[in-house]
Amino acid sequence: MRIFDRLSGWLSSSRAPDPEPQPPPEPSSDPEAHRPILEYVKRVWAGEDPDPVFEKKSLTHDVEFDSLHLAELIFALSEDLEIPMERILQFLRTGIPGGGDQKLATLLERIVMLSKEFNSSDRFVLLSSGVVGDRAEVAPIVPPFDNVAFVVKFCGAIKSLKNQQGHDAPDITHVTITDDPGWPSDED
């Protein structure tokens, strides 16, 4: 099953049979295509009822949303929710051995670096044009993941990383715990 189009080679070993050939979608030209979904996700998390019509929309054809927007959306979430980027990158890189790729994590790393000097519109131009990185890293999201509902669920997975503790969180190097009476402390 692939998330991005065939150029990205998300998971080459278990591809479903290709459907009827269709013309490749035009590259998105909207640098802010992730914003409506981000705002929608925040509203749903705040308790608003989900909008099934919006969630059924095609990311590629209705929202002009591709892998670069997904990376920008994740970056925005990490800033909003204060999720350590190291956790997100580890989560995205943990693929099926021999099957996954790291393009989304790489895109996100580039966004993190560029964010120190450029706003999201400038980053979009730099990354989608190939001035920074490989243009092939930016790819449309393919069926059955080509819908807003998929991104909402993906955001939920990213949000859950905030709750990681101890060994699960790669950014946590040590933990302070209470002493047990009768058990020698390290100072003893």
Binding site: G166, H167, T173, H174, V175, T176, I177, T178, D179, D180
Partner: protein
Amino acid sequence: MTKINLATKSHPPLDTSRVERLLSILERGGEYWNAWRAENPGEYIDLRGVSLFGRDLSLDGVNLADANLSDANLARVRLQRANLSAVYAVRAKFPGAHLENANLQGAFLHDCDFNLAHLGGADLRLADLSGSNLLLVACSGTNLRRASLSSADARDGSFAGSILAEADLSDALLMDADFTDANMTASNLTGASLVRAKLQGTTLDGSRVFGTSVWKTDLQDTRQENLVITPEDEVDIIVDKLQVAQFFYLILNNEEIRATLDTITSRAVLLLGRFTAERKQILDEVRSGLRRLGYIPLLFDFKKPRARNLTETVSTLAHLARFVIADITSPRSVPQELQAIVPHHPSLPVQPIIHSSESEWGMFADLRAYPWVLPLHRYESLEALVASLEEKVIGPAEAKVNEILRHRAG
């Protein structure tokens, strides 16, 4: 407080020449190795895939802190008092190894083999042993505070006298294991199997026991208060005693069984109130008083986002209760809870209590109109509440229960 370093999860690519060089140093014995490490404190200790099995090495007291021991074979190796703190050892083999009094704090030991290993007195605080095999392991007197044995297989293991407070034992196989006198306070036993396990004198207070199997478990003198019977993504429902926990969760989620119960014989008392630190003391005292008088206190904690329908859950708990005690001091969610209960349960007396310094919320008058809502009891202090609990709180509620029973019979 003690600071525990955790094993690092990022490692450089395997360099076999480095591994061979380090192994040749280690083969000279623990003392030589420790002296070498003292001179080379910044060296990355990569011992991935090494086998020390059958080499007759004495590595007691060896310093392997922060080493990468993934896929290493340390079967039957003597490592007593060894420093293995913060080691990263995925799929390592320690069967029959002697690790008595070793320091394994913060170690990442996922999917390892500790069958028949000797770990008595070892420091395993914050160690991650998830998915590991610990069949017949000797773990008496160890400290496993905040360790993870999630999905581990520790059947027939001995953990007598060990500290497992705040440990994650979810989905662990602990059949026939010995936890005599162990401290398992606030541990996560979700889905764990404790079939035929020995829990004599064990402390389980505050543990999460959703889906825990306790068939034929020895619970003599086991401390088991404030057990959370719900999963982590649902509101906390808190009861005492493991068997009661199983019973309540079963009837909460099974309408048919629920319908067959005669609630009049119930000894459960539903306690509603705020669970903030300052309010919790009041609830704890009321609970203790109820226990002393042979009741089963039932708590419903709203602190978490709710996955289950609120009204349905409160209503179900109310259905199981003999009466309700509602502390409406600084109430927050209590009005909502009472609104879900009172109008629909005319056979359920509700005894409201409030600190004398506060006034009831405005709409409380509406609830007082129901005859089964008893007059408000005001208490001056915690001590005064405890002293008057039987006479002013439980007594009126019991009298109301009996009145309702007489009314039904007549």
